[in-house]
Amino acid sequence: MPSTLERSIAFTRRPGWSLYLRHRYRLPYLLLLPVVLLLLLFLAWPLASVFYFSLRRTPLGEPSQFVGLDNFALLFREARFLGNILASLQYLVGVLGLSVPVAYLAAVLISSKVRGAGAFRTLFLLPWIIAPVVSAILFRTMVDPYTGPVARALETLTGRKYLFLVNPQLAVITIIVHSAWRSFPLEMLLIAAGLTSIPQELYDSAKVDGAGGWAQFRYVTLPLTKNQLFVAVLLITIWTLQDAEGVYSLTQGGPGYTTEVVGVRLFKEAFIYFNVGIAAAIGVVLIALSVLFMVFYLRVLGAGEGQ
């Protein structure tokens, strides 16, 4: 079998630039072809179709018809959908506010030179590889008003009964803590990767300049982990905004619609009520929200770089 080298020599000797080009790039293009076809057919095309379907009404078993922006008009005039968006933003702020500080602290701890601390890098990642429905079962077991240790401990402390998934505020807190528990490991992993890439000399020279612990953190650690922190916050923002599985397994959006975040609403419209048009319109809103946050974070990061 002739080697690629020989073959390419044979080809380059032939005249014709286009033939040369074609041959030179043929192999990488061929190698990428399956992935590209897969993603075009099953990701890019459906993604474009979401917009198309959002402009149509598609009753089951009947041909769909064009309705313009009716689906969006319907949604945005609905108190429930505005509540869905607010619930999503509340969920997002709660999850980020709770998980990022814990993740940063955990990252500092597992990257510290204390012997044995590194082993916890792996162990602390466990919540992240657990299925959302499994962790939802674990959390429901903990907050059961009669047998759950968390509900019971609170009851002993305050003398009141805590009905976690019945009381609206407690339900919101439960989905936030659950999601933060699932999200902090990945944030920790990314931040820790940034921490270990900081050269020790920077801390040494900071100490020479008389910087204490806090000053070292403020002027060395934090600026040099900014990019990793940014990636972590971006990923968790996107996943929290789009989350349906975690919230749905815990509360199904209840009580009432208090925990019905946009993802859960989309889940119900698409897979339970089979409202294709409305579901697609919610999908468009979710895509728009995701892109909005991506652009926002990129601009914040860009502005920081410019200083």
Partner: protein
């Protein structure tokens, strides 16, 4: 003295975070090993009634089987594509290569939104309500990042080894097969485990593409147990523990390469 104080504080922090991380898991396992009320079943700390009950349910075993089919199917279909694509991105320069960033951006768009038209298309091509559709969805949503992970692992192999092989008469594909893949084997296994865990844990795609109860995957069945069993926490946590074991074991086995691949994928 100061160093000891610092180490003490670090351990205190690790302990506190450790309690938060492990308490829900430990409590779940403990609950699953507790006998249901009224069925004392003798003394002793460990009761396996919950597990015995679940494993004696033919339906539960069917759900496990479906989950194995879907997860293994997704791995087997996605890995060859990821290897070929990742290799092309790691070792070749070609016009349009910068578009590969899309592989990192596309997975950030909401899969749940993409599922809506996909359901309509799956109905049209007759794949709706089959495990094949569920496998396909898992392949589609896992492949982009898997390509990126493979790329990272191939890049970590010095290209000189491959060049030497090419001079000895190997074609590029032979070099990939005989040089890169054996050298990157632990990494490739980690990519497979990454896809397996994601597919094993997901119920969204199965919920979207199947309606027959006998096609349910394990997480979907757990969701149904939650609705039907309500507060039978012994049974619920036993089923949850069984569902948790494969991903946890696979992750712990491959953790070093798994983490490396994750960071290679999300980094620059």
């Amino acid at each position: 003295m100061k160093a000891r104080l610092r180490a003490g504080l670090a351990w205190l922090g690790i302990l506190l975070i450790g309690i938060v991380v492990f308490f829900p898991i430990a409590w779940g396992v403990k609950t699953s090993l507790t006998a249901p009320l009224g069925l004392g079943g003798g003394s002793g700390l460990i009761h396996l009634q919950n597990y015995r009950y679940i494993l004696s349910q033919p339906l539960f075993l069917l759900y496990v089987k479906n989950s194995v089919i879907v997860s293994l199917g997704a791995v087997l279909a996605a890995i060859p594509m990821a290897i070929l694509g990742g290799y092309a991105l790691a070792r070749f320069d070609f016009p349009g290569k910068r578009l590969s960033v899309l592989l990192l951006v596309l997975p950030l768009l909401p899969a749940i939104a993409v599922l809506v038209p996909l359901i309509v298309y799956m109905r049209r091509v007759g794949l709706y309500n089959t495990l094949l559709a569920v496998i396909l969805a898992n392949v589609v949503f896992n492949t982009p990042f898997a390509v990126w992970m493979v790329r990272g692992f191939i890049l970590s192999i010095p290209i000189e080894i491959e060049e030497a092989a090419t001079i000895d008469g190997c074609s590029r594909l032979e070099a990939l097969w005989q040089i890169d893949l054996p050298l990157a084997a632990p990494g490739m296994i980690a990519v497979g485990i990454f896809i397996f865990i994601n597919s094993w844990n997901n119920y969204l795609y199965a919920f979207a593409f199947t309606t027959s109860p006998e096609l349910a995957v394990l997480p979907q069945a757990l969701l149904r147990f939650l609705g039907a069993w309500g507060t039978n926490y012994g049974g619920l946590t036993a089923a949850a523990t069984l569902a948790l074991l494969p991903p946890a074991a696979l992750f712990l086995l491959s953790q070093r390469w798994f983490i490396m691949g994750m960071l290679a994928g999300t980094g620059k």
